[in-house]
């Protein structure tokens, strides 16, 4: 897998194509600067072998090798049910509709359970935030459920206690003050109707009790922005399907805004046709994001200057609210954007990022109003969050009360404020002074350790609740398994406080909806809500937003262009840090940087040069008196004089996986600079810190791998030859032709739709029992992901264009891996799948060596440890591989088998859509399509019939079943970057 460039390696390929491609695309800065080539090639850690040691080990292995092959499998037992559950058949999965939250906003999912064990999450096609897809966090939720580090007992200090003893202590505490004086409850953003009703009831019962909300990734700026523009906090909601021109001002609507999975679907659909209606995307951002990578026209601008850019844009569009002065000078990007916006009134959309201050949001709302976009591409509803006060303010009030000794009892429901409250909030210190404090959480984290009582929470897959999605759609969250460790939900805990002893989560949620719906016909309503996973609740209500009269927004403060700014961003795979103990997410290469197991300070190539640092050099980042040290990652396309740090790392009590991974950027995040800080100092320390990126692994040596076309070029292709060079000629072959008369499976991947979110990689990991290997193994290039998302850059390192390419096994018809396998472990099946037979594999690794796509993965060590709770997560339909065995993408052969057996039993053929691979199902943008090539009507054939369809390394004549469609961009007329 770790190929070094061979001097003659390109000789066998078409020179002209290779040359052209080599010029155009690159994957890492080291490829541009050949002198750095080895700096992050997979590390070749020296292994010392002595002859005697080797002989000893070999002799022992030989002696042991014979024994397990001699006997039948060990005796297994079957434990029958006492009463069989009515809805399930032995050996068949059951799906439950539920929802999983991301930063408080729910997205519908279907949880697959096998014999009562949740094993896999799929999107809920009926849910508007999902439409069948999910993000990476939902995929990884099953691993979180089975995490052996979850807390399993109630703790009082270091003493193991029971729930009953806790309730007793709680009652005693509540008896102190019958009016609730001194009682405070801290939650994260509340989007659960039932939880909100409970909190309201509680505050009514204890009138002097207070409820606070804080989460580090909150929408304060969004609500403050709408309040500034319209006089009341509103929730903006976008309709990308109706948009022609989209301008993003630091808004990552494809990767992190609430509803991003749905937005990505709408966006991709509006771009897939290369007609004149194809969306054109303008992005201005400083920290490269998934949305920025999709930009047709991108302007790289520091986060602090977005306000001035918005100001200039508003003024150019004639928005009265924008005060003159301080705006940035206009440039080609701004002129083109403004011209396009003016031409597309009513089908344009400007979006501001959650990181930007309220003034930017207000300006953007004024722009959208000016262009008449409301009702077409943007609409407003009352907030999805209940009682959306400023969470920063709420936290500040709480700490002030704690400092003033007004708080006797603090109940923290979820969240981890000791870790992620603003560094200068003093929450941790103030907590010490509270006489009685309890924390409900999944594991004993930083906050639990500082509280008297730690209460194990029930996981979302173990408990009843409800949650609103980005558009207000409510889903009843139903448990798919009884709490593994006797955890309880926030609902049950609040019921205890309210004196409703012993009420179950089910009763609480059901009662809430029964009151709301009325008794008549409630059973049918309830069953339907559970079955479909969707309730169309009339609230939050849609509003016609009207700009406040006399609205006037100026730039109060111009950031000093000569200092360096610091930008905080949620980690792309760990979010705010709550997923730090999730090994799938730790090892998932972060989109754009491909870093695993840790974070880094992202800086531009120019800044790195100025500082004299290279990737992996450690710098000290200073903001006022606060200092942290972090390794540098040079990020092409990053704004100059700006450094981005990702939150969510450096946990000290995450668990055995996440503790101590990366550095803690919250240490620099203060209330005054929640999203960006200015006047930052960067000082190289001279130290180095190894990072584990997958960037230069599996390098493809600059051949014609990703294709990039403009819309005009793509449309011209329908008539003439396609650049570059067109189809590779089918070459002569020595292999006998094989007819595939039954099914003939194939896949098409649309690079134009792929946003690089990596959901496919995690979905595949969950579906196919793929192990994690850890940081040191990733550094050796031994990551096991069956589908990787390669990232390529085109153009200059300062302003590159970014392309993503998911690469699973190509399922070659003339598979190079097969001819070199000495034991026929790599063979073809009758439907053209290139299958890997684990029980034959002896681990020579010849196949991987001969695979031009580098998609084969070898179990160098026993990566799958025998952890009982993790065993329960495994997909029973897929073999768990052992050490010494090669593995790779199978096109989800278990799903094909299931569909084939089902179809065979009813005497029909598999129809298009019966087999959906895990990566295809999860893909938010439907970039991946799979199906039968022998069915002329199949979706995959439709995709492959495009003249743009191309095979990876077609010149090798491997005849891959997986082919690609090029990335097609829609640059502005006259753009020099076309």
């Amino acid at each position: 897998m770790t190929s070094r460039p061979h001097p003659d390696s390109t000789l066998v390929f078409d020179r002209t194509q290779a040359e052209a491609a080599r010029q155009a695309f690159w994957r890492g800065l080291d490829e541009l600067d050949r002198s750095q080539i080895d700096s992050h090639a997979p590390a070749h850690e020296p292994v010392s072998w002595y002859r005697r040691e080797f002989m000893k080990l070999m002799a022992a292995s030989l002696a042991l090798a014979g024994t397990p092959g001699c006997s039948r499998p060990p005796l297994e037992q079957i434990v029958p049910y006492r009463e069989g559950p009515p809805e399930s058949t032995y050996g068949k999965p059951v799906f439950f509709a539920s929802a999983i939250a991301r930063d408080g906003y729910g997205a519908g999912v279907l949880v697959e359970t096998n014999m009562g064990r949740p094993t896999k999450i799929e999107g809920n096609p009926l849910h508007p935030a999902s439409l069948g897809a999910t993000d990476i966090f939902s995929q990884a939720a099953v691993l979180e459920l089975w995490d052996p580090d979850r807390s399993q007992v109630v703790l009082n200090g270091k003493n193991v206690e029971t729930w009953d003893r806790f309730v007793e202590a709680l009652r005693a505490r509540l008896a102190h003050a019958p009016d609730g004086a001194g009682l405070r409850i801290l939650t994260e953003t509340v989007t659960s109707p039932t939880l909100h009703a409970q909190l309201r009831r509680l505050v009514a019962k204890y009138p002097r009790a207070r409820w606070h909300q804080y989460q580090p990734l909150n929408r304060d700026n969004v609500y403050a922005g709408t309040a500034l523009a319209f006089g009341e906090p509103l929730e903006p909601r976008y309709a990308f399907g109706n948009a022609r021109i989209v301008v993003s001002l630091d808004a990552d609507f494809l990767g992190s805004l609430p509803g991003c999975v749905r937005y990505a679907r709408d966006f991709a659909e509006a771009r897939r046709t290369h007609a004149a209606t194809m969306i054109r995307l303008y992005v201005a951002e400083g920290t490269p994001s998934l949305t920025g990578a999709m930009a047709d026209e991108k302007r790289i601008v520091r986060s602090a200057e977005i306000l001035r850019l918005a100001q200039a844009m508003a003024r150019a569009l004639g928005v009265g609210a924008a005060q003159p002065g301080a705006a940035v000078a206009s440039d080609a990007w701004l002129d083109a954007a403004v011209a396009d916006l003016l031409q597309h009134r009513g089908s344009a959309l400007v979006v501001a990022g959650d990181r930007q201050p309220p003034a930017v949001h207000a300006l953007v709302h004024a722009i959208n109003q000016q262009l008449g976009n409301q009702g077409a591409t943007i609409e407003y509803t009352t907030p999805v969050a209940f009682e959306p006060a400023s969470e920063l303010e709420s936290m500040r009030e709480l700490v002030a009360a704690m400092d003033a000794a007004q708080v006797d009892a603090l109940l923290v429901l979820g969240g981890n404020p000791v870790y992620n409250a603003p560094a200068d909030s003093g929450f941790g210190a103030a907590l010490e002074r509270i006489p009685w404090k309890a924390h409900l959480s999944l594991s004993r984290d930083e906050t639990s350790a500082r509280c008297d009582w730690h209460l194990p929470a029930a996981h979302v897959l173990e408990s009843w609740s409800d949650i609103r999605a980005f558009d207000g759609t409510v889903t009843i969250q139903q448990p798919c398994i009884a709490p593994l460790y006797g955890g309880r939900s926030a609902h049950e805990l609040l019921a205890e406080i309210a004196g409703e002893t012993g009420t179950s989560g089910y009763d609480i949620v059901r009662e809430h909806w029964q009151q709301k719906h009325g008794v008549a016909g409630f059973d049918a309503f309830w069953r339907d809500a559970l079955r479909r996973g969707v309730i169309e609740e009339p609230s939050p209500l849609r509003r016609v937003a009207v700009l406040k009269p006399g609205l006037s927004i100026g730039v109060e403060r111009v950031s000093d262009p000569n200092t360096i700014e610091l930008v905080f961003a949620p980690d792309p795979t760990l979010g705010d840090g709550r997923h730090a103990n999730n090994a799938w997410l730790q090892e998932l290469p972060k989109p754009l940087s491909t870093l695993t197991w840790g974070n880094a300070a992202m800086i531009s190539p120019a800044l790195a040069q100025r500082l004299g640092v290279k990737t992996e050099d450690v710098v000290e980042i200073g903001v006022g008196p606060r200092r942290i040290e972090a390794p540098v990652w040079i990020s092409p396309g990053h704004a100059d004089d700006s450094v981005t740090v990702y939150l969510g790392h450096g946990r000290i009590r995450a668990g055995s996986v996440g503790t101590g991974v990366g550095f803690d950027a919250y240490a620099l995040r203060t209330a005054a600079a929640l999203w960006s800080a200015s006047a930052v100092t960067l000082r190289p320390t001279g130290a180095r810190f190894p990072l584990a990126a997958t960037q230069t692994h599996d390098r493809m040596e600059g051949r014609d791998i990703v294709r990039l076309l403009t819309r005009d070029q793509a449309n011209a292709c329908a008539k003439g030859p396609c650049p570059p060079a067109g189809e590779a000629p089918v070459q002569a072959t020595l292999y006998p032709p094989v007819a595939y008369e039954g099914y003939k499976w194939g896949m098409s991947i649309d690079l134009g739709s792929c946003i690089g979110c990596a959901a496919c990689t995690v979905a595949c990991q969950a579906e196919n029992n793929i192990p994690v290997v850890g940081k040191s193994e990733v550094r050796r290039g031994r990551e096991m992901h069956w589908i990787r998302v390669d990232r390529y850059y085109a153009g200059s390192p300062d302003r590159p264009r970014t392309l993503f390419q998911p690469v699973p096994c190509m399922q070659c018809e003339h598979a190079p891996c097969e001819v070199v396998c000495p034991v026929e472990a790599s063979v073809h099946d009758a439907e053209g799948l290139n299958v890997q037979v684990y029980n034959r594999c002896v681990g020579t690794r010849f196949c991987s060596n001969n695979c031009p796509y580098k998609v084969r993965r070898f179990n160098f060590l026993s990566y799958t440890r025998d952890t009982p709770s993790l065993n329960a997560q495994r997909n029973p339909e897929v073999t768990v591989r052992m050490r010494g065995v090669m593995e790779k993408c199978t096109y989800c052969v278990q799903r094909i088998s299931r569909a084939r057996i089902d179809a065979d039993k009813s005497g029909r053929r598999i129809v298009d859509g019966d087999v959906v691979t895990a990566c295809q199902a999860v893909c938010p943008t439907q970039a991946i399509v799979f199906g039968d090539l022998n069915d002329p009507q199949s979706a995959v054939n439709q995709r492959k019939s495009s003249p743009l369809d191309y095979a990876l390394l077609a010149e090798l004549n491997t005849r891959p079943r997986t082919t690609y469609l090029p990335k097609v961009i829609n640059p502005a007329a006259g753009s020099e970057r076309a």
């Binding site: 001699c70 499998p73 297994e76 434990v79 006492r82 050996g91 009758a830 065979d904």
Partner: protein
């Protein structure tokens, strides 16, 4: 010294080979019934009582797994008869909330083999073809080797074993003299996939 080492080494190799031969014989461990905590007799339940296979193995026609009956199935009768019989103590106590009843598997395939009962039933493979005359077994034992060669025998030439759909659960079914002709006819009728497909690795391994 060297000679001694050589002799010991050769002896070890020989011992290993013998162990392998003995254990790898397809019919090793066949005859002996597997011990169970409740000495369940298929002979009694099937032949004496006339209970159909599917009364207990409910999912055999729909799922990969034929299904092991929940205790409540046993108790449909045994809550009335033989309730206090010593042989049923483990069953009754498990049903009343005691230690779970654990059946030892008689037919166990390696974990990398994915066998599906329902498709075999649908395509005309009868119970007794693989499980033998379970209806005559007081204690259940395996009658076939379940090794890959045995599976492939049928996957290569299913016509040797296929039977009409109405005889699938007939334990007394025997192939007729002209089974090959009838089997070929049935194979076409059932639309059994061809040998190349049935012997593809991915048919059973994933």
């Amino acid at each position: 010294m060297l000679r001694l080492l050589l002799i010991v080494g050769l002896a070890l190799v020989a011992l290993g080979l013998i162990t392998y031969r003995v254990n790898a014989r397809p019919d090793a461990q066949l005859a002996a019934p597997v011990e169970q905590s409740v000495p369940f007799s298929h002979k009694h339940h099937v032949t004496d009582d006339g209970i159909d296979c599917r009364y207990c193995h409910t999912s055999v026609e729909t799922s990969a797994f034929a299904g092991i009956p929940p205790l409540s199935t046993c108790m449909t009768c045994h809550s009335q008869i033989y309730t206090e019989a010593p042989v049923l103590r483990a069953l009754v106590s498990a049903y009343r909330g005691g230690a779970a009843l654990r059946w030892n598997r008689v037919h166990d395939l390696p974990d990398f083999v994915y066998f599906d009962h329902s498709i075999h039933i649908a395509k005309g493979v009868g119970c007794s073809t693989c499980h033998g005359r379970v209806d005559t077994m007081p204690l259940t034992s395996r009658v076939v080797s379940l090794d890959m060669q045995w599976c492939l025998d049928c996957h290569r030439t299913p016509e040797k074993y296929l039977r009409p759909a109405d005889r699938i659960f007939d334990m007394r079914w025997q192939p007729a003299a002209d089974q090959l002709a009838r089997g070929s006819e049935l194979k076409r009728g059932y639309r059994v996939r061809d040998e190349r497909e049935l012997t593809s690795c991915s048919t059973c391994h994933r």
